[in-house]
């Protein structure tokens, strides 16, 4: 069976898988951003929390993704079979790049700018929200971009625990020893990753100062 005939005969199914895939990635990214950016802001002035948060985020990053999905299945509430478990795992992977970039962006600001801000009588919160955060914007977005691209890839593995998405075709293709079926999942996933990379990269360049 050629790739093209598979694509045309399974168009509805592939589109549905893309939709599922985007849902998994979208929800995971929203949660990851909502956790990582505030956490990144908090750890700027809290060294102990910083060490802990970065270490934990690092550890999750080192667990092979298939294993992490497997670990999560038996857990109550968070675990089980399906999209929810997949989202938990994807969030855990996406946190590190966003958290690290947020932290680096907030702390790599020209010291003379921070000195001026403090000397002007800005409170700590004003320095954070009027100076650090706007100047770190493109760094944070770069972290989100990396995380999104990674998440689009890892989300294909979510099919192994019944979360659906483009990985469904890849696993099915492997089982059927059919390249066409594998590619029906892999090509759209790659295109999604490239598109996300391009769009977020465009935003990032527009937000960059200097």
């Amino acid at each position: 069976m050629s790739l093209w005939t598979f694509f045309s005969s399974h168009r509805q199914e592939i589109l549905a898988a893309i939709q599922q895939h985007l849902f998994l990635v979208g929800v995971s990214m929203l949660i990851a951003i909502a956790v990582s950016v505030p956490l990144g802001i908090l750890i700027v002035s809290r060294p102990r929390l910083r060490a802990l948060a970065l270490a934990v985020a690092n550890i999750f990053q080192t667990i092979p993704s298939l294993a992490l999905f497997g670990f999560l299945i038996p857990l109550p509430i968070l675990g089980g079979i399906g999209a929810q478990t997949a989202i938990v795992a994807l969030v855990l992977y996406a946190i590190l790049p966003i958290l690290r970039n947020t932290y680096v962006g907030l702390t790599s600001i020209d010291p003379s700018i921070l000195e001026a801000a403090v000397a002007m009588g800005m409170t700590e919160n004003q320095v954070m929200f009027r100076v650090r955060l706007p100047l770190a914007k493109s760094f944070i977005l770069a972290g989100i971009r990396t995380a999104t691209v990674i998440t689009i890839g890892i989300a294909t593995i979510a099919a192994a625990i019944g979360a659906g998405g483009l990985g469904t075709f890849i696993f099915r293709g492997v089982a059927m020893v059919s390249n066409a079926v594998i590619l029906a999942g892999a090509i759209p996933a790659a295109i999604l990753a490239l598109l996300a990379d391009y769009l977020l990269g465009f935003l990032e360049r527009r937000w960059r100062i200097n």
Binding site: S112, I113, E115, V118, M120, V131
Partner: protein
């Protein structure tokens, strides 16, 4: 009886002030500094690198905290001041300007008035005033970003920003240090003009003898963390103090090299 103390209260006073980086470190950056700076004085603090002149400046707005003695602003110890109020009442200009790259010239200049909650009209008028003081066209430059300005223009904006909330005290750390000689003397003229008109207490740190003599109504020489001389520019050059003679001698040597 009238209250004579109010008239004679210095704008800034150092009382046997010492500063070291940490309590454990016995080497002090500054020690035994006693200095009274009157309202409206322009004090040029002169010294080589490492003489402690920048630290002296930063003790005033409590970017650094003194280790011993006391530092008073408006007759009140800086440790008793509300830190935010203290700093909002003191303009601060540094060599690298510290302009916020994500804000326009106007937003940079108007930041402290805005933080202070000034009405919009008053802030706008003030923006035109301070831009005129530093010799920049407010309409032309207001919308630009710092990266679109030359070094001299950035420094002018830095001064305008420091003056915006009409502070009584202006602290300047090598404000013209990074500029080419022509721009530098241009800005020195702007400063001279401005310092006469605004009538503020100004402490200016510099390593350049000619700049100190030109701009200061008083010149203070720091050497190894001590005040070794404090005199009007005219008297300063006549002092017999060895450290002063040496500083003048090395400065003239350097002057001799530049045409």
């Amino acid at each position: 009886m009238p209250e004579p103390a109010a008239i004679t209260t210095p704008a800034i006073e150092f009382r046997d002030t010492g500063y070291s980086i940490s309590a454990k470190d016995p080497r002090s950056i500054l020690s035994g500094i006693s200095l009274r700076i009157a309202e409206g004085e322009v004090v040029a603090v002169l010294g080589r690198s490492g003489s402690g002149k920048t630290s002296l400046l930063k003790l005033i707005n409590r970017i650094l905290r003194f280790s011993s003695g006391d530092v008073l602003v408006g007759g009140k110890s800086v440790s008793e001041w509300d830190l935010i109020q203290l700093r909002r009442g003191i303009g601060y200009v540094i060599q690298e300007t510290g302009l916020f790259p994500h804000l326009t010239v106007k937003e940079n200049v108007c930041l402290v008035p805005e933080l202070e909650g000034w009405p919009r009209d008053r802030t706008r008028l003030r923006f035109y005033d301070v831009m005129a003081l530093v010799g920049l066209n407010a309409d032309e430059y207001g919308k630009r970003y710092p990266r679109e300005l030359s070094g001299g223009q950035r420094q002018r904006v830095g001064v305008a920003r420091a003056l915006a909330a009409d502070p009584r005290i202006l602290l300047m750390d090598e404000p013209f240090g990074a500029l080419d000689p022509i721009t530098r003397s241009e800005l020195q003229q702007v400063f001279l003009d401005l310092s006469r008109r605004v009538c503020k207490t100004i402490v200016l740190v510099t390593h350049d003898l000619r700049e100190a003599l030109l701009l200061g109504t008083r010149v203070v020489l720091l050497n190894g963390g001590h005040v070794v001389a404090s005199a009007s520019p005219a008297d300063f050059v006549k002092l017999d103090e060895p450290a002063v003679r040496e500083f003048i001698a090395t400065s003239e040597l350097r002057v001799g090299h530049t045409p």
